[in-house]
C-alpha cells in the first residue's frame, strides 16, 4: 500500500510517497529527506532529542507516524537560521554555553523555540526548567540551557518591540 502525503518542511512544500505507514516523522526526516539535524535518542518519547515543530507546536517526532501528519507544516533545526544569521535561540545557546557534546542540542533548541512561542514561562527559571523537562541532557548543561532560553526570550521580545515601533 503506497500512501501519498503532503508536508511543508522548513517552508518547502513536498509530496512524499510512503511505501509503509510505519515510518515515523523522525525516520522520514533523517532517513528519507536526509535532514539529519533532528536526532534519534531513545526513539520512545522519553529524551526529547527528536523534538521538531509541527504546525508551530513542539512535538516528539519519534512518536508521530508521518502518514498521520498529512497536511502539516514541519520545522526542524535546519529551518531556523536565515542563511548565516542564526536564530536568536541558536545564538543564545552558544552565548550561554547551553551544551557540551551537542547531541541533544537540536531538540533542546526546537523545544526552546516552542516554549517561547507558548509564552507560559515568563522570566521564571523554575518555569523554564519545568517546561524544558522533556529534553534530557546527559552532559548536564541544564544551567546554560535555562539561561539560554531566558536570554533568547528577552532578545525575541526586544526584536518584536523594535519591529512594532
Amino acid at each position: 500500500m503506497t500512501l501519498s502525503i503532503s508536508l511543508t518542511i522548513n517552508g518547502q512544500p513536498k509530496t512524499i510517497a510512503l511505501d509503509d505507514p510505519r515510518v515515523t516523522l523522525l525516520d522520514l526526516l533523517r532517513e528519507r529527506l536526509y535532514l539529519t539535524g533532528t536526532k534519534k535518542g531513545c526513539d520512545r518519547g522519553q529524551c526529547g532529542a527528536c523534538t521538531v515543530l509541527v504546525d508551530g507546536r513542539r512535538m516528539n517526532s519519534c512518536l508521530s507516524l508521518a502518514v498521520s501528519l498529512n497536511g502539516t507544516e514541519v520545522t526542524t533545526i535546519e529551518g531556523l537560521a536565515e542563511g548565516d544569521d542564526l536564530h536568536p535561540v541558536q545564538a543564545a545557546f552558544i552565548e550561554c554555553d547551553g551544551f557540551q557534546c551537542g547531541y541533544c542540542t537540536p531538540g533542546q533548541i526546537m523545544s526552546a523555540v516552542g516554549l517561547i512561542s507558548e509564552g507560559h514561562a515568563g522570566d521564571d527559571p523554575e518555569r523554564v526548567r519545568e517546561l524544558m523537562s522533556g529534553n534530557l541532557c546527559r552532559c548536564g548543561a541544564y544551567q546554560g540551557i535555562t539561561e539560554a532560553v531566558l536570554e533568547a526570550q528577552r532578545t525575541l521580545k526586544e526584536q518584536k518591540e523594535r519591529d512594532a515601533a
Binding site: M59, N60, L63
Partner: protein, 352 residues
C-alpha cells in the same frame, strides 16, 4: 513494529464501521500506542486514524455551565484554556503535572483515558503478564514491584493506571461519551476503567469498536473551583509518573465543608475515587484531624502487593496534604511546578 494497514476516515460512522474488523485499533496522537507498537506490546493489524474526524477537537460550554471536551482536544490546549482552568483547576494542574510539554502538545483527551499501564513486565514481551498475554502469569508479583498497586489488585495483576488527568475526572463525576456499532452512550467516568480481577486484559468497559467522542464535566463540578488541588509525588521533580497522587476538592461555606471530592492516583488499576471519605468530611470543619480521618477511611482496604507497603502510608499523607492545600485555596496562578510538593519559590534559581 508489525506491519499494519492504515485508514484515515473522515466521519465517526466510517471510523466505527472500520473498527468492526478484527485487529483494528484507533490511533490518535500515538504517544502511547506507537511506543507500544515499537516494543511489540501492541500489534494492531489495522490503524484507524481518528485525528481528522470533525467535531472532536472543541471545548463546548453549555448555558448551564457544564462543558464537553472533545476526545481530540490536546492536553496542553485543555490545560491552558482559561475558562476551563478557572472552573476545573485541579484538572488543569493534573494535566500540567503529566508527561512533558512536547507530549502534552500531542496527547489527546481520549488517548489519555486509553493509555496502558507502565508496569515494566507489561512492557517487556519476555516477561509473563496476564494483562498483555492472558494466562501467562504475572512476573510483577515476585519482581520489582515497589511502585505497584496497593488497592483493588488481584493475584492476576498488580499494575496501576498511570494517568494524572483521570484522577480529578474520577473525583468530579465526569462522563465519557462513546459511539460504537450499537450507537451512542454515556459511561460514568468511575465505571470506565476496570479492576483486574481474573481478566486484567479487559481494561475498560468499552464494548468492541466503541470510540471515545468526548468527556463531559457537569456544572456542579465547578462549585469546587476555589478549593481544588492535584498533588503528585514523583521520584524526580518533573517528567515522571506518579508514585502516589491525589485530587482533592472542597466546597467550603462559612468555615464548614458542604461538599468534598477525593480521588487517588497510581494506587490501583483505575483512578480511585473514595466516596466514603468524602461523606465523612461533609458538614465538618476543614481540619487536619478531619483530613487524617478521611485518609484512614480512604485506605481502609489497602494492602501491599509486594515491596510497596510504603505507598499506603505515603498515600495517607498525600491525601491529608492535598486536602489541606485544597482548603488553603486554589492558587491564583498555576504553580511553577504543577502538582509538585517540592516547588521552590518562583524566581529563585536552584542551581546557585
Amino acid at each position: 513494529m508489525n506491519r499494519f494497514d492504515y485508514i484515515c476516515p473522515t466521519t465517526v460512522a466510517e471510523a466505527v464501521a472500520g473498527a468492526a474488523e478484527t485487529g483494528s485499533a484507533y490511533l490518535a496522537a500515538g504517544t502511547n500506542l506507537v511506543d507500544l507498537m515499537k516494543i511489540g506490546v501492541a500489534r494492531p493489524q489495522r490503524l484507524i486514524d481518528v485525528t481528522k474526524l470533525p467535531g472532536l477537537d472543541a471545548i463546548e460550554w453549555s448555558p448551564d455551565g457544564s462543558v464537553r471536551v472533545g476526545a481530540m482536544v490536546r492536553n496542553a490546549d485543555l490545560a491552558y484554556d482559561l475558562r476551563f482552568a478557572e472552573n476545573f483547576p485541579a484538572v488543569a494542574e493534573a494535566l500540567l503535572s503529566g508527561a512533558s510539554a512536547q507530549l502534552r502538545n500531542a496527547a489527546t483527551v481520549g488517548g489519555n483515558l486509553m493509555q496502558r499501564t507502565r508496569c515494566a513486565y507489561f512492557q517487556d514481551t519476555a516477561s509473563a503478564c496476564n494483562r498483555r498475554a492472558p494466562g501467562s502469569g504475572c512476573d510483577a508479583l515476585e519482581g520489582d514491584n515497589r511502585l505497584h498497586a496497593v488497592i483493588g489488585w488481584s493475584e492476576h495483576c498488580i499494575a496501576t493506571h498511570p494517568s494524572d488527568f483521570c484522577v480529578p475526572l474520577a473525583a468530579l463525576d465526569a462522563v465519557v461519551e462513546v459511539e460504537g456499532p450499537q450507537g451512542r452512550r454515556d459511561i460514568p467516568f468511575e465505571s470506565f476503567h476496570r479492576l483486574p480481577g481474573d481478566t486484567p486484559e479487559i481494561e475498560t468497559n468499552l464494548a468492541p469498536g466503541e470510540l471515545i467522542l468526548g468527556v463531559r464535566f457537569p456544572a456542579e463540578a465547578a462549585r469546587f473551583k476555589a478549593h481544588s488541588r492535584y498533588l503528585k509525588l514523583r521520584e524526580r521533580t518533573s517528567y515522571a509518573f506518579a508514585v502516589v497522587s491525589a485530587a482533592a476538592a472542597l466546597d467550603l461555606q462559612e468555615g464548614s465543608i458542604r461538599h468534598a471530592r477525593l480521588a487517588v492516583g497510581a494506587v490501583a488499576a483505575k483512578p480511585w475515587r473514595i466516596r466514603e471519605a468524602e461523606e465523612g468530611l461533609i458538614g465538618g470543619e476543614p481540619t487536619t484531624e478531619a483530613f487524617a480521618k478521611a485518609a484512614e477511611i480512604a485506605l481502609a482496604g489497602a494492602s501491599p502487593s509486594g515491596d510497596n507497603a510504603f505507598k499506603i502510608e505515603l498515600a495517607r499523607r498525600i491525601i491529608v496534604r492535598a486536602l489541606a492545600l485544597a482548603a488553603e485555596g486554589t492558587p491564583r496562578a498555576m504553580p511553577a511546578l504543577p502538582g509538585s510538593p517540592f516547588s521552590s519559590a518562583s524566581g529563585v534559581s536552584h542551581v546557585a
